[in-house]
Amino acid sequence: MTKKQNRIVSNLYIFIIMAFLYVPILVMIIYSFNNSKSRGAWSGFTWKWYSDLFQNDAIMTALTTTLIVAVVSSLIATVLGTAAAIGIHAMKKRSRTVIMNFTYLPVMSPEIIMGVSLMLLFVLFQVKFSLLTIIAAHITFNVPYIILSVMPKLRQMDVHLYEAAMDLGCTPLQAFLKVMLPEIMPGIITGCLIAFTFSLDDFNVSYFVSGERAQTLPVLIYSMTRKRVSPEINALSAIIFVVVLAVLIIVNVNDVRREKKQQRGGRHA
């Protein structure tokens, strides 16, 4: 095979896998404009599922719940996890290993077991399933991701910087705010974003700790797919897809621009 043929084959392969990943999503977007309620037949173009979607109280309430849970749980998890990472980093190797193994437990164990175990906890203490139980559950599965993304930054940090700041008269708080925090900030932000997206997307854990009083969007979607399926779900996925696509493109274009600027700056210097 020549080099050119090679390249054609490899691009074709990439194209086929990408088609596999995207065709189902495209079909959903197309069907979100389908006038018929049935999923098979096409009977003309309509926007009505989109307007139905925004008038659907259940969906809008669930969306609000999801956003509240994601914001609150990722922020609390970030504070808890960053403090934990700093503390664990300062420990001796033995206790550090033990604690890190516990930290891996929620990451490695299947979500269904986390959901079930938290459900047992809330049932035992007779806590009614509500917004609070969902938030507590989300914090629990989010904290490990914060710890795991802050830890590498702490390891990379020069320990003497913090000591130098103290020697030069900083209080521990000042040394933390002015020296340590800026160093580990990228890890904190990555962790927070990961936690936020996991929280938005979580179904398996929320399913076991949400009741009549509070439902996140994925839990509602699941109950909708169990009943007569509504084309509003298609409209909802189309919107989510476009939003995610837009966010990713913006973030990516920004990254590329910043890198180019850095490269250019580097050449001048």
Binding site: I14, G87, M108, P110, I112, V116, I139, M151, D201
Partner: protein, 271 residues
């Protein structure tokens, strides 16, 4: 002030929301309705051995298919230009950001008896084929949902393989097959190990894909657990025992893949 006390709030949290709940699962699994010690829950779990077996089997098939599809793809992506790599990785990640329920629902639309694919077949006079509510559909759903979990760790080890290493191998007379076996494959083992864990764990424990694409006719261990806790079969003791069985399956899988990877490296791959 000692820095290590900063971990105290987290340790309290973890004790209450991780250690106690997991302890509760173990307690429920080992007790009966009256709180007495018993092993009967595990004995009862054995009745479901066929379901447990088929969960493991389907998850193994899905993991193998993911590996076979993802390996060449990850390699091809890793040999592209920086910009090309960035775009392709983004394209792989994008579906992950959509709820997996919506993506699985999309496959329902495609595979149904009067769904899109059967209508297309109908146009050329074929079918309709029975596609949804089959084991094949369940495996397809697993592959579709978890393929990015295989591609990304593989890509992240392969992008570190120096192109000059591959060129050197072929300059020294290796055929492409030999280069693959003797250079690329050994260097990508940690990625393979991470990918296998990241696909197998959610695949073996899913309780949604089997309901949505298997129509409830192919129960998996996840479905059993869900039914014992939230369904008509309410029996948290049996459900807890099944959860422990599932946990053991996963620990065995992780022990097998852990032999090939270094824990410090895994931390970086997960994120």
């Amino acid at each position: 002030m000692k820095a290590k006390f900063a971990a105290a709030p987290y340790l309290l949290w973890a004790a209450f929301f991780i250690v106690i709940p997991f302890g509760l699962v173990a307690y429920y699994a080992l007790t009966d309705l009256h709180g007495g010690f018993t092993l009967s829950n595990f004995a009862q779990s054995l009745r479901f051995a066929p379901v447990i077996g088929s969960s493991i089997w389907l998850a193994i098939i899905a993991t193998a298919v993911c590996l076979l599809i993802a390996y060449p793809l990850a390699y091809l992506i890793s040999r592209k230009s920086t910009g090309g790599q960035r775009t392709l990785v983004l394209l792989v990640m994008l579906p992950m950001w959509m709820s997996f329920l919506l993506r699985t629902y999309a496959w329902m639309t495609l595979l149904e008896n009067n769904g899109v694919i059967n209508r297309l077949f109908g146009l050329i006079g074929l079918g309709p084929f029975e596609m949804i509510n089959t084991q094949g559909a369940v495996v397809l759903g697993m592959v579709y949902n978890y393929l990015p979990f295989m591609i990304l760790p593989l890509y992240s080890v392969m992008t570190k393989i120096d192109q000059s290493l591959i060129e050197a191998a072929s300059d020294l007379g290796c055929s492409p097959g030999q280069t693959l076996r003797q250079v690329v494959l050994p260097l990508s083992v940690p990625g393979i190990a991470t990918g296998i864990t990241m696909v197998f764990v959610p695949a073996v424990s899913t309780f949604v894909i089997s309901v949505m694409l298997g129509g409830g006719s192919f129960m998996l261990i996840g479905d059993l657990i869900e039914m014992e806790f939230l369904g008509n079969a309410y029996n948290p003791h049996l459900g807890a025992a099944l959860s422990i069985v599932l946990m053991v399956i996963i620990l065995i899988c992780m022990a097998l893949t852990d032999m090939f990877s270094d824990p410090e490296e895994k931390e970086g791959l997960l994120l």
